[in-house]
Amino acid sequence: MKPFLELNSRVVPLLRDDVDTDQIIPAKYLTVTDRSGLAEGLFESWRSDPESVLNHRGDAQILVAGDNFGCGSSREHAPWALLAGGYRCVIARSFADIFRNNALRNGLLPVALDDASYDRLLESLHQSPELEVCVDLFLCQVSFEGQLAKFEVDDFARECMLGGHDTIGYLLSKSDEIAAFETRGGAA
């Protein structure tokens, strides 16, 4: 996974709540055995409307959505498709649990802002749609037009994203503890 330190980008405002993973990547694209072809299916249904903001991404790498982004299926194809489609960060009011985990493991940063900060961001976007937003994972802050908003992210996931390494290495380094747990008879 690519390290994530700081990102400066315009944003795509998809101002909807409960954006589910079936919208992000429909089931018919899940027959792949690798990660190919997912950019094509990203938000397929909504992108069939030529007017959709999703068709005017330009070089923006940040998606802004509402509450409970990524609800529904556990398909990791959802963050894969977003990454394939050029996004590196999603700013939302809140995220569904499985999507957040999946995103973090792939270097797609989920940023949940508190209501006040989120509303300020929307207001600024309303005034200047071409607004550039800076997402700083080291400082855990989002800045735009001189405004600053802090966000929280799991410490360990942050460390892994900053370093660009995945988490399986940490688990593999604990093989002795895992073997000892199994020898003790596990949970039974």
Binding site: L30, D67, C71, S74
Partner: protein, 464 residues
């Protein structure tokens, strides 16, 4: 210290804890299907890692499998490749696989319980959000992504932050013609699609105790639709009777039961949240919108929209607010999915369809959850009830729930479905989905419009 069921199962599985790190949680049963596993096996191969515990891993084929007879030969090219990859990987790593020729094949969340593989007190994961189903046995069971599938294959462990316990109490008893599906839809309407985020639900109370294992599985299955990590029911005699004698049941069964009895939440244990619903006041529920929380009692009016989401949902669904859905013409009825495809569900649907005919122009699919369910249903003649009524009796699989295998609701058509998600296009591009119980689905199939099964005469009390 007094503990909840969830806390007992969690604590018993923590392998290692370190400040600033998620817990390392041991997994007792890892379920695998064709859609979310190929990249995980590929990752293992790139790293040169073996599967640590193939003996704790069980695979099945369900998502892109055909429900027409013919097996692999009638699967589309893309789906076939995925099924072949799963078969090859399972052979390479010595993982047991219920393939299309297996008498045990079926939907992952149907087959593991019915083969006795899911036990109380276990941790169970699968690259599938409806893994929450297995919580019906008092297991801690949740869906994971493909990176996590790889982790579990490699280490039999997961990195997890501890969720919080959330008590969901159903007091009183369900009325006749009301089922577990209606209970969980009522709950989701109450707490919302993100109401359970960061939490594990524990279903408690008289109405939960009275449910069969099939009903409990329906209840736990849709915990994810409330955003919860998992849903659980403390094991009791209903659980122990269900598991006794199944192929995967422990050999020292009495000893196991004794251990399992100690899993129940202790008196005085503290939940971080709690909600109580009156089960006796729940009517059959039906969804009107594009999230599972957008649902009402079947005779209740669809609410006036109070948000952009609701307005968009009404427009997509072509539903009018201010009046009930009762009487709205339907095109398709789907009885199946990991939510409602067990024998109890099929009996409930058959109790309505017995001696009646499906309305002209309505396509009705009945898709059993597994080959074992199909055999059991056929042994008691349910297939004949469905076929005589004009419904299609199909081979098991996920089918029209997510429309990966070619079974789909045509664009713009309206379906009453016993599945779990009514998202835009979930059952096919442009498909419109009304989520409901098997009874409501069957009654709507007979009339050709949204119907309340309680108005049918001679309804046998068989609802799960």
């Amino acid at each position: 210290m007094a503990k909840t069921l969830f806390e007992k199962v969690w604590d018993a599985h923590v392998v290692h804890e370190q400040a600033g790190r998620p817990s390392i949680l041991y997994i007792d049963l890892h379920l695998v299907h064709e859609v979310t596993s190929p990249q995980a096996f590929g990752g293992l191969e790139e790293r040169g890692l073996p599967v640590r515990r193939p003996d704790l891993t069980l695979a099945t084929m369900d998502h892109s499998t055909p429900t027409r007879p013919g097996g692999l030969a009638v699967v589309g090219d893309a789906g076939r490749k995925q099924l072949e990859v799963l078969a090859r990987r399972c052979a390479e790593h010595g993982i047991e696989l219920y393939d299309l020729d297996s008498p045990y094949n079926g939907i992952v969340h149907v087959v593991a319980p019915e083969q006795g593989r899911t036990h109380p007190g276990m941790t169970v994961v699968c690259g599938d959000s409806h893994t929450s189903t297995h919580g019906a046995f008092g297991a801690l069971a949740f869906g994971i992504g493909t990176s996590e599938v790889e982790m579990v294959l490699a280490t039999q462990c997961l990195l997890q932050r501890r969720p919080e316990p959330f008590e969901v109490r159903f007091k009183g008893r369900l009325a006749e013609g009301v089922s577990a599906k209606d209970m969980v839809l009522a709950l989701i309407a109450e707490i919302g699609v993100a109401g359970g985020t960061g939490h594990v639900l524990e279903y408690r109370g008289e109405a939960v105790r009275a449910l069969s294992m099939a009903g409990r599985m329906t209840l736990c299955n849709m915990s994810i639709e409330a955003g919860a990590r998992a849903g659980m029911v403390a094991p009791d005699d209903t659980t122990f009777e269900y598991l006794a004698g199944r192929p995967g049941a422990p050999s020292d069964y009495d000893g196991a039961v004794k251990r399992w009895r100690s899993l129940a939440t202790d008196d005085g244990a503290v939940f971080s949240r709690s909600v109580t619903l009156d089960a006796s006041a729940i009517a059959p529920r039906i969804s009107w919108g594009t999230t599972p929380a957008m649902n009402v009692a079947i005779d209740e009016s669809v609410p006036e929209p109070d948000s952009d989401s609701a307005r968009r949902a009404l427009e997509y669904m072509q539903v009018d607010p201010g009046r009930p859905l009762l009487g709205k013409a339907v095109d398709v009825v789907f009885i199946g999915s990991c939510t409602n495809s067990r024998l109890d569900d099929l009996r409930a649907a058959a109790s309505v369809l017995d001696g009646r005919r499906v309305a002209d122009g309505v396509q009705v699919l009945v898709v059993p959850g597994s080959r074992a369910v199909k055999r059991a249903a056929e042994a008691e003649g349910l297939h004949e009830v469905f076929q005589k009524a004009g419904a299609q009796w199909r081979e098991p699989g996920c089918s029209m729930c997510l429309a990966m295998n070619g079974d789909r609701v045509p664009p713009g058509k309206l379906a009453v479905s016993t599945s779990n998600r009514n998202f835009e296009g979930r059952q096919g591009p442009g498909a419109r989905t009304l989520l409901a119980s098997p009874l409501t689905a069957a009654a709507s199939a007979v009339n050709g419009f949204v119907s309340d099964a309680r108005s049918f005469e001679n309804l046998k009390k068989r609802a799960s």
